[in-house]
Subunit: 393 residues, 2 copies
């Protein structure tokens, strides 16, 4: 007699896509497949200084157990900053610190769904979140995206057809992988639909601060008079991902369950990590830092677009107004998986678009390109190789 893996995990097999992703970490590879901020955007010296100060002045606080909701001074700082910068959060919301943004999706799924319930999401959407939903035995129901984000007519239809739907998962700004931004009109319609149908909205906004063009659109969370939106933000893209500090703005009536979910996940997020972020706000101008890194990303995004227009005119894309990704449509005569494999042979790694589909064996003619991780020379070189490889078909 032998043990068995749980049903929900037995169905989570490593896909063919993972094999291509593995290749992307090989040395010498031009990495258009990542999602890491630009190395030049990391405030290394600042983190070094802040860490040294904390461990000199208050090492015990940094090393002892913390509370599950998060380091109180950081929670207060995030709350005030979000309110001032984005108008997010009311007295009826609770800020809870998490170990990266994915943990918000994981905990939201824990507290809102039972096995067999459905999560409604954009399709394509971020593979990490989709896997978090799947890993709790949830079904996924996709809604197509237009240039201005999720198609709300289609959403309405999906809601009608899905009695066990529990929440809508959306990345409203510079969607991963689509690059699209949900319009203000659509945000209001989505909120209304959620409210009318007893659904929660999980608003995943890791890229919202990385706007490189156009005007900011208020978060769906700013509409939340009914306590039905969980807003997720992160320091991974504006400070550094390795530090694993993110946050959720949770309606107070869900906060108790969310805190239990956090507690059983990892008790609390590293205290030194949280103190570094807190002190970063105390000693530096975070908004000015964001402005600086947006300049870096604007340059890189524009460079990649210019290179694509020059070397790959056959590739179609909608220029995103921020974020880290371009969603590039290959011409009809090109087999996407074959193209990705040929690129890997030429030391260029892109993510096959099928990775972001609910059924990753479905046909897909897109690839996701990241412009933040590679340096400028690699962007030029990589897109040239992409063009040469296209010409082989």
């Amino acid at each position: 007699m032998s043990y068995t893996i749980s049903k929900k995990y037995a169905s989570m097999k490593p896909s063919a896509v993972r094999e291509i992703l593995k290749a992307t970490s090989q040395p010498g590879m031009i990495a258009f497949a990542g999602g890491s901020p630009a190395v030049e955007a990391f405030p290394c010296d600042e983190v070094k200084k802040l860490s040294a100060e904390i461990l000199a002045e208050d090492p015990v606080s940094a090393l002892v157990y913390g509370v599950s909701e998060g380091y109180e001074p950081l929670r207060d700082t995030v709350k005030a900053w979000l309110k001032k910068r984005n108008g997010i959060g009311t007295d009826d919301d609770t800020v809870i610190i998490t170990s990266g943004g994915t943990q918000v999706m994981d905990i939201a799924t824990r507290i809102l769904t039972d096995e067999g319930d459905t999560v409604i999401c954009e399709e394509p959407s971020f593979i990490g979140s989709l896997n978090a939903f799947r890993s709790h035995g949830c079904k996924l129901k996709g809604v197509p995206i237009d240039c201005d984000g999720m198609n709300i007519d289609a959403l309405e239809q999906v809601i009608k057809e899905t009695p066990r739907a529990k929440f809508i998962y959306t990345i409203p700004n510079f969607q991963n992988p689509g690059g699209t931004t949900l319009s203000w009109e659509k945000r209001k319609r989505m909120y209304r639909l959620a409210k009318e149908n007893g659904l929660v909205i999980v608003e995943d906004d890791p890229y919202g601060n990385l706007r490189t063009a156009g005007d900011p659109i208020p978060a769906i969370k700013t509409l939340d008079r009914d306590g039905i939106v969980i807003y997720a933000g992160s320091f991974s893209k504006i400070l550094a991902p390795g530090i694993r500090v993110a946050y959720a703005v949770v309606p107070s009536k869900m906060a108790g369950s969310f805190t239990i979910g956090k507690q059983v996940s990892d008790v609390h997020t590293g205290v030194l990590n949280q103190m570094i972020v807190h002190r970063w706000f105390e000693e530096y101008d975070v908004d000015a830092h964001i402005d600086r890194i947006c300049k870096v990303y604007r340059r890189k995004l524009n460079l990649m677009c210019d290179m694509l227009d020059e070397h790959c005119p056959e590739i179609q894309y909608v220029r995103p107004q921020g974020g880290l990704f371009l969603w590039a449509r290959l011409p009809d005569n090109v087999d996407m998986t074959d193209y990705c494999n040929r690129l890997v042979e030429r030391r260029v790694a892109v993510v096959p678009g099928s990775a972001f589909l609910i059924d990753d064996t479905a046909g897909c003619s897109y690839v996701r390109l990241n412009f933040s991780t590679p340096d400028d020379d690699s962007i030029v070189e990589g897109v040239k190789i992409m063009g040469e490889t296209l010409r082989e078909y």
Copy 2:
């Protein structure tokens, strides 16, 4: 129409016990309720030095995304150290770094159970792990403990009666809260029973290195020729809990699922945190550090026992051979909850034993005492107050 919390979370209400636990964090409270290592045992200067070196020499590695399995040099170091120190791990095992030990229980539950499955555990057992199991919709089935750990006859009976049991959860060394250590004979019988019945053993060993008396007993994992034991260790008690670095030794055939579970939980554990632990091994003698802190704990444990014998002769307990906790039985004429409340009024916090039961409303005449967090004066003062309060009944 309104959303609902998932069935599994709707049943996880904050208990009366939590209210007492909250009181324990008030300033001026003598903290016998905690579970934190002694402050004097934290290697603060070492962490300060290591962190400074890392952020001076290799800041980008510390700040960029890591892989889900953990920082490779740390994984190798832990693997070699475990092998040398405890004989744990074979070529057919994979070491995976987690964000604290609780995350190992959480991921094990994800990959091994579906809603409605059962976890077999010692009763009483660590409330944090029990809640992790419950939070995935698992049922709990308790097995009583004797002076030498879980009663294996009772375990055999429970296994027979529980067709949907998936794994046995055990804290073999200095059990939390019982303080008992599972004998070698019993470890072998438990392993055999698990093997015969298609069960996995999740061996939670956060305290194993904190032995203050007697000889070490090999881990159940050292018996694992069949790939059915997940061993969990942690740096929370030997380095510092706030750093949130622990590890699982996972049979290779489960490692793929375990890694997916880690990925959807929090992508990876903080890289700076992992690098600090790795460098701690490189630059310092970790085994010598453990010897030093064991001396601290031996002194504190003996002090608390001496004080109990002097001031509370009515209280019965089995002197543990290590760990952080004493499991103290009150005399029959004392109402445990009432006693805990009276102690809080006198600024002494202990954990009501019922917190560690599967049904925390069941009667219980025990309290858990922690001797690592309070300083020596507080141990003396607190136990005196415990004795005075006993005399009121």
